[in-house]
Symmetry: C2
Subunit: 333 residues, 2 copies
């Protein structure tokens, strides 16, 4: 099969097409003919050699895809799982998406939500599983609460805003340009704050506190925002950190956390085990049950920025690095 | 009524007996004739002027007591609450325990567990509510998990060890002397590590990791232990910090937290609101339902170090400062 490989750690230019042996589905796995793969920020880190795949996972980059079931591995039956060759699916991957074929644990296959084109479905698994697992399964976000989403115009952020509104939550968000702020408001954000501006209206801590503080914060900045995020939390608030774009180590004011009875939670989706109560299969099952209906009824719309042919993966990585995109970047086979 | 007041912020010597007006129970409150009050570490901070009581609470030190219902305030009826004058109770207080009488929100009254003498019951509300609310309601400790309790020989620690064992949890603990380690083992701790010793058997991080890491850590040290506690957590672990005896600010390695999908939670019982899902009344109700039966069947035994007459509060504070006590210190009226 054709696949995109990083010939060595480096910039987008190290991504090149290669002919590799087809993957063979192991016990409990399904082989998928890939239609499209979604890009994620972690892909850039993996390309640079900074984010090795979990043990046992493919070396090929790519944490989500859509496509068609090609074959069922040992122990996977249509009777038990409902999947047959020819079914259109999307899938959460530990790796291997930038390729014509990929082997996937059967619990990480999901149907394509009704009304979503097959290619676009490639951009759903990571955002849907990340946002649902963090906001609902981990942080326990509930109707009537207040959510602060950092980077509201990105793939995760734009999905989190929409899910928040669908759950009946007040959604505050930050973004870096007027255009992105307008996009966040259009998605339903109640308040969008420009983190580049100066002045009281641009102080997201102050704005959040005016709204009573955030019950949940979804953060991709890590160290740079840690102290301000703790300041912005409401009593009983949960700060969920899923990215380290602002660094990994910062001083934590434990006393401030105690006074608010608040928590700081770090998570990655990729490191979760396939099975178990909070494993990938459990998350996929909840996403199909709770998030797919919201997509099918139009409460959440998948947002695609640009679709590139897979052999232009380098250009797609460059666009993601630029930060100019709004919504998902996809690679098509 | 007679009460103990701190004449100015300072050492134990500022605690003196005074005659004050009797408290009047407000709407929703009950007046209790105090039999005994329990000491807590926060009492020492309040005496030093470092821990002001929550707004609206009594200025008098004392966060728990036992005694007899003396009068019901407006809106409190025996029909609705089951409480009548003459009933023996213990209570979680926002303050006011070091006195002959105290007014208590009715939701914070609890019956005295069968078999526990009235005076000893004064030492139960803070430990039982702190340990249950943190380990079970906040950290979600479950049967089969591993719990690390720091300071296992103290009031909170000794209770946490026993509750952990009653819940079917593997309990590791730290303490500072051979005598205290033996005490922790006698309470049921599976492993007790001397944090003063050198060498591999005394490295509580290494010992905890040998047991697969801690699913829950109950910590009273704060900053000093933050990095090591994160290191000792299992995947999905919850570090619950309830004390700052080792300082309030320390560097947090967010990346380490993310890799483990772990959380750092800070809480105080005193700052919780009386009502609400995680409020004091809700905690007291769960404690009566789940912890009192464990005390009544002998799975958890209240541990009293020393009982002082209330006008010897200064001596009781000195004993708590010394760190030599094992179990609760009580003041009797």
């Amino acid at each position: 099969m054709r696949a995109i490989v990083a010939t060595e750690p480096g910039g987008p230019e190290v991504l090149t097409a290669a002919d590799l042996a087809d993957p063979v589905p192991g016990p409990g796995e399904v082989l998928v003919d890939v239609a499209a793969a979604g890009l994620n920020r972690a892909d850039l880190l993996q390309r640079q050699g900074l984010y090795p795949p979990p043990r046992g996972a493919s070396d090929i980059i790519g944490m989500e895809c859509s496509g068609t079931v090609a074959a069922l591995g040992d122990g996977v039956t249509t009777e038990a799982t409902g999947w047959s060759p020819g079914d259109q699916v999307c899938a959460l991957l530990a790796g291997g998406g930038y390729a014509e074929k990929v082997a996937v644990p059967v619990g990480q296959l999901m149907p394509v939500p009704a009304g979503v084109p097959l290619v676009e479905a490639a951009g759903l698994p990571e955002v849907a599983c990340t946002v649902w697992s963090n906001l609902v399964m981990t942080a326990g976000l509930e109707h009537g609460e207040t959510l602060l989403v950092h980077g509201g115009a990105g793939g995760i952020g734009s999905f989190a805003i929409q899910l928040g509104k669908a759950l009946g939550v007040t959604v505050l968000t930050t973004a870096g340009t007027e255009e992105k702020l307008a996009f966040c408001r259009e998605l339903g954000a109640d308040v969008a704050v420009d983190y580049h501006q100066e002045g009281p209206d641009a102080d997201w801590v102050a704005v959040t506190r005016q709204h009573g503080g955030a019950d949940v914060i979804l953060d991709n900045m890590g160290a740079k925002y840690l102290a301000r995020n703790v300041e912005a939390l409401a009593d009983g608030g949960r700060l969920t950190i899923i990215g380290l774009q602002g660094g990994a180590k910062a001083e934590l004011d434990i006393n401030a956390l105690m006074r608010k009875r608040a928590s700081v939670i770090g998570t990655t989706l990729r490191s979760r085990p396939p099975e178990g109560r909070r494993g990938k299969a459990a998350i996929c099952a909840e996403v199909v049950a709770h998030v797919w209906p919201l997509i099918e009824e139009g409460a959440i719309r998948p947002i695609v920025d640009t679709t590139f042919p897979m052999d232009r993966a380098a250009a797609a990585h460059e666009r993601m690095s630029s930060g100019e995109h709004t919504g998902k970047l996809l690679l098509t086979v």
